[in-house]
Symmetry: C2
Subunit: 151 residues, 2 copies
């Protein structure tokens, strides 16, 4: 299989609300009232956590199938703290994003200890979102900035 392309495109609807499209899905992003939004949708970093949890679900199930593990239930919770100072421009001491992330996985299965260890070792190595959050990713920025004054 060759590489797969994923894309989201959308527009700023308000200062906090983004209306994006991924294929035939519309996804709205907003901020809670405490962060200046209208709380119409999950906020940006909540989508990051959800994408990460959703990715772990796919990979745990995929690898479990390979290892012939029967999953009875699988609960995934991800959380993290952000210091908003850099975002707000009041201090640049801490990084802008999550200082760290905590992944809690509660798996009920028929696997023995050794197989479970192998399962989660494989999951960490093969989960796309785990990779992009654990390791740096090159980002290319293309800014098309129309200046009305120059038109």
């Amino acid at each position: 299989m060759s590489t797969l392309n994923f894309a989201v495109t959308g527009n700023s609807a308000t200062q906090t609300k983004y209306e994006g499209y991924a294929r035939h899905f519309k996804i709205t992003v907003d901020e809670p009232h405490a962060l200046g939004g209208n709380d119409d949708a999950p906020n940006p970093v909540e989508y990051i956590l959800t994408g990460y949890a959703g990715c772990l679900n796919v990979v745990v199930n995929l690898v479990a199938k390979e290892l012939d593990i029967k999953i009875n239930s699988l609960k995934i919770e991800i959380s993290g703290d952000i210091d908003p100072a850099r975002l707000l421009g009041t201090s640049f001491n801490n990084r802008a994003g999550f200082l760290s992330l905590k992944v809690d996985i509660d798996l009920d299965s028929d696997a023995d200890e050794e197989t479970k260890t192998l399962l989660f070792k494989q999951v960490k190595e093969r989960c796309p979102v785990n990779d992009n959050l654990s390791n740096p990713t090159p980002i290319e920025y293309n800014i098309f900035a129309t200046n009305l004054n120059l038109n």
Copy 2:
């Protein structure tokens, strides 16, 4: 302001579908048919791209306000390629996640060139999701794996 905590919790509904909750919002993740899912919702990495675009929207608007820039319109598109080989376990030559990301921002504003340069320099430095995707983030895993055979 002290640090802010964000969290998502949820369960595996199928091998590809995750039903998560962020505060009072339910967010469903699934995979397209081509990736073995039922295509009931955006897939994990589409949520990553959406969270990133939503975050850029917030920070562009925030910094523009500080710089007294009037935004007429703002379009944000983010895309990237993934080699699914590592996820599928068929090859470990490439990384698991996005090989790179491309951010296209189309801003229509009344800002001059110098101010726009300052705007986007600040946006890159202050956007939380940009930070977590550009730079490594420490991740703590807690695996609670019940083994039915041992009960």
